[in-house]
């Protein structure tokens, strides 16, 4: 069964540094997402991406965050200047259609980001 893959599985960075989290969505999917889960808290929506542009974003997704689909397969999340509170598990997801009854999200296994 096709799956969403994320790299790296764990990223440690110093406060103020830039990080790029990488994802390869399922190949025939058209909608791409980033979610995050701070330890012990709920899974939170960050951003959705369709047709090479952001379709929706949450209040968490401020100017420090950006997403890109640099080629036909990768989908990246960049945090320009990391803060301690950015430490979380970041999940990439994709779906064949927008969030709907027939198109659930398929998640990757996540990247654990630790900001020191």
């Amino acid at each position: 069964e096709p799956e969403v893959t994320q790299t790296p599985s764990h990223q440690v960075t110093q406060m103020g540094q830039e990080v790029i989290l990488r994802c390869v969505p399922i190949s025939n999917h058209l909608y791409f997402y980033w979610y995050r889960q701070i330890l012990g808290q709920k899974v939170e929506f960050l951003v959705s991406f369709y047709n090479n542009e952001i379709s929706e974003k949450s209040e968490i997704f401020d100017d420090q965050f950006s997403v890109e689909r640099p080629d036909g397969s990768n989908f990246t999340l960049k945090i320009r200047s990391t803060k301690l509170e950015d430490s979380a598990m970041y999940f990439c997801a994709s779906s064949s259609q927008g969030s709907s009854y027939n198109s659930p999200l398929h998640f990757g296994n996540g990247t654990r980001l630790t900001v020191t």
Partner: protein, 115 residues
């Protein structure tokens, strides 16, 4: 702003018995509800969903019930198996103001099925 609430952080059930996981929501604009299962060190995995036009959806051992008037849904697992031990997230989408792409998750219920 907890629009999707799972008030039980954990649940223990004997193997073979029924597991009932509950979820409440506050946003009446939600029209699509899902359950995801999550094992440690893995991403959430889609389990089952239900549209707001239905009150029940069944898939094998898993059944989701929706009570729109009460803004409540539940997931029934019958019979429960040790491999079902995981964290279960209730989720919802469909609020136009929040965006059709956004799925709002609950805080999760950790299910332990005891052999």
């Amino acid at each position: 702003d907890q629009q999707v609430k799972q008030n039980s952080p954990s649940l223990s059930v004997q193997e073979g018995r029924i597991s009932i996981l509950n979820c409440d929501y506050t946003n009446s604009m939600f029209d699509y509800f899902l359950w995801y299962k999550k094992y440690p060190a893995e991403g959430p995995t889609f389990l089952i969903s239900i549209s707001s036009i239905k009150d029940k959806n069944e898939d094998g051992r898993f059944t989701v019930f929706l009570n729109k008037s009460a803004k409540h849904l539940s997931l029934h697992i019958v019979p429960s198996q040790p491999g079902d031990s995981a964290v279960y997230f209730c989720a919802a989408s469909g609020d136009p103001s929040g965006g059709y792409q956004k799925v709002t998750f609950g805080t999760g219920t950790k299910l332990q099925v005891i052999p």
